[in-house]
Symmetry: C2
Subunit: 465 residues, 2 copies
């Protein structure tokens, strides 16, 4: 491990909240409340320089009064008081700190931020922020977010870690993850990256066994060369998906006034991400699509896709998307597969790829078609379109697809488009480990990302680059 | 009106269902049930050659036995019997028919389809299909879809008409529209386009006052020159958004076996759509995004966008999207606007465009900022990012945005990203006529489509092309 050790921050046995407040409108109140709500089982200490007790918990005037080992101090007080509070943390032997307060370099107060960094370095005390949302780890029930749970649904436990420079983008994506079919390992919002930066975070997550996939929102990086090295290291063992804010001249100017990031030249960034083997997302939605497939899918053996659909037009759109992907192609079914399919499909079904099993297809017809196609060595991955508006599609179909997926050693994604009835079936499939998309284009893009990532990783592991 | 008259099909005073059945698994049963459920107030007749009564309604053995004026006959019987049933309709003086049955040109039975066309022509009886879902008109409560309402939520009444060659794409999009912030005028699924084709439909919708916007899913057109003329005619008076299936060689082959469409050369189609002034969508989601903005927004005076956000990163992403759109640009705020904003915004707020009103912004801060920006002549449209995870954003903010939007003569779209709490607020805003998007990229694409459509339309009306 080359970077700063973040374990005491993400798996703390004790947490002190500096600036905890009994005023429900204050950040320090919401953070304390969220710790209590999340069921954090470690020791919680409360620091407030004006109170003796907050929400039933004894309050200390200064963290140095606590006289106990503290793994993490969360600091939520006005910027001007932060360096002194941090100094107190250092003197008290606190292992790590998170400064959620804003009012530093992002509004031009570089001196104040520099004082913060000096204290963090002096005590060798990994410090996250300032101007950040902090961290969340659903396993250790750490949650320093100062956003109430009724506004921001918390994700379930899973294998995706999310690293965000921006607090707002971070919180909206966390909220979206809560309704997606995958769970969260860690959330780390690092804001101005004054002390702990993206390199430390990547190095930590690379070695974190709970993290299978990393998604990142990033506005700028400072240590370019070291970043590329860290990025290459992690890409060799787990997929990293990145969304860059500040890709245009106007966007870069906006990023500068947001996280004080030097957003730099967009093409240079893209080159770095590509060299690193990162998967590049162009929108928030793409971050999530790619995370979903990367978390649940095995590496494909090749790029040949078989499409099964109960809606002709959706099959045409998916086929177009394969044709336009530039990476995938339609699998050519073997003569044996075609012969066997012809025997079991109704006469109206035209046996080809895409295979339109017709609007009245039920779980039996899907099941027998997929079982045959699974054995065709010319098929590397499956795109199954299951439109639940049709007469034959119901929860038995959803369950059958989960069942087949679990028996399969090839990637399989499902496309199901629609409102309430469809959403219910998406939940059945996603909780069974099947990634479900609501557009053929997004599903194909995700399969292409899966194929590209593993192809590159394999090539690199051979050439040892 | 040059094409076939579709009014008796969409506003029928009487409907006969040929092939109505008491077997709940039969298409004819579901169609009849849906008519009853939808509350259709005209006269319903039932034709079944084996029954005297179906679901409490007297059944006729043959449509010719009815001896009453019939505006629309819906035919749901096996393909081989369709031409004779159509002949009976002609003899009975039926005004229009819909053939939902499949088993014609799409599986190579061109002769059977040709017979159908001959009968339709002989009686000058506009006939939709075969191999189609039929039509829906929530105003006249016409609903020939043979998909149960619990599986496919029906949209509310509105100004968007949707024309689909494919039944499955049609039904999934209808289902999606039911949960979007806009309503439906007409749904027309025309399948094999044997008699009524897309040209007849466009000409009808052009003159239909209930239709403000048309969205189309199309796999192929046959009468190219006439199509272009019809497309140009309608584009001059209302926006048409088109999604083409069969854009690649593999997709075209798939389309051929789906709706018997000669999907033709993709670039040729794109050229036709562009010449026609159509808005081109690349995915199902884009069809809906564009429909939403086109239905609710006024033409913009120019392409200068002001962005207001309570989340810095989301503002950066929106700014990037504007920079990459190639069509829009960031508005330069006037000195007067900047001076006035500086007076009323908190000191942490950096007065610029994008305007980050900060994470604690409430409806008052948004309201005062927007009120000032509305008066700036250098701003043509607004992109308001309202992240409801933040402490200051609640239903008062949603209501305030609706209120300001209604006072405004410039386009305004909102971006709100998140799960349940956010969705609740989307509903408040969308039911107040504010288009809401869940990604900055999609919102910017939609504003760009709005600007491009009206710019082209204005240029054409001047040059009289």
């Amino acid at each position: 491990m080359t970077g700063l050790d973040l374990k005491p921050m993400l798996k703390p046995r004790s947490v002190a909240i500096i600036g905890a407040s009994r005023d429900p409108d204050k950040v320090g109140h919401v953070i304390l409340q969220n710790y209590i709500n999340a069921g954090y089982s470690g020791k919680i200490y409360v620091v407030n320089n004006k109170a003796d007790e907050i929400m039933g918990i004894k309050a200390y005037r200064n963290i140095r009064d606590i006289k106990a080992g503290i793994d993490l101090a969360v600091i939520a007080i006005p910027a001007e008081f932060v360096p002194d509070a941090l100094e107190d943390c250092g003197k008290a032997g606190v292992k790590t700190t998170i400064v959620v307060s804003g009012g530093f370099a992002e509004i031009g107060k570089n001196d104040l931020q520099e004082r913060l960094v000096q204290v963090a370095r002096k005590y060798n005390m990994p410090t996250l922020g300032p101007n950040c949302l902090g961290v969340m780890d659903p396993r250790s029930r750490i949650d320093t977010l100062f956003l109430p749970t009724y506004k921001l649904s918390r994700p379930s436990v899973g294998g995706v870690s999310f690293v965000s420079q921006s607090g707002a983008v971070g919180s909206t994506i966390l909220d979206l993850i809560s309704s997606e079919g995958f769970g969260l390992s860690k959330f780390i919002s690092y804001g101005n990256a004054a002390h702990i930066d993206e390199i430390d975070v990547l190095d930590y997550l690379m070695h974190d066994d709970e993290t299978k996939v990393v998604i990142m929102y990033i506005e700028g990086i400072r240590r370019g060369r070291e970043f590329l090295e860290a990025a290459k290291r992690i890409s060799r063992v787990k997929p990293v998906i990145v969304l860059k804010g500040g890709k245009t001249a106007v966007g870069m100017a906006a990023a500068r006034s947001h996280t004080a990031a030097l957003a730099g030249d967009a093409q240079a960034y893209e080159a770095v991400f590509r060299q690193a083997g990162f998967i590049i997302a162009d929108d928030i939605s793409e971050l999530l699509y790619y995370a979903k497939i990367m978390e649940s899918e095995v590496p494909p053996a090749g790029n040949r896709v078989a499409i099964i659909t109960n809606g002709g037009g959706a099959g045409v759109l998916a086929t177009d998307a394969v044709g336009m992907s530039g990476k995938l192609k339609l699998a050519e079914l073997s003569k044996k597969t075609i012969g066997s399919l012809a025997k079991i499909m109704p006469s109206l079904v035209n046996v080809r790829n895409p295979l339109d099993v017709a609007g009245d297809a039920d779980e039996k017809r899907y099941g027998s078609a997929l079982s045959l196609l699974m054995q065709d060595g010319g098929v590397d991955m499956f795109l199954v379109i299951a439109l639940f508006q049709t007469p034959g599609a119901d929860s038995k179909l959803a369950a059958r697809l989960v069942d087949l997926k679990q028996k399969m050693e090839k990637p399989l994604v499902v496309v199901s488009i629609g409102a309430e009835y469809t959403k219910m079936h998406r939940i059945i499939m996603e909780s069974g480990g099947v990634p479900v998309y609501d557009s053929p284009v997004d599903a194909v893009k995700s399969l292409a990302a899966l194929y590209s990532y593993y192809t590159l990783r394999k090539a690199r592991s051979k050439s040892n680059v």
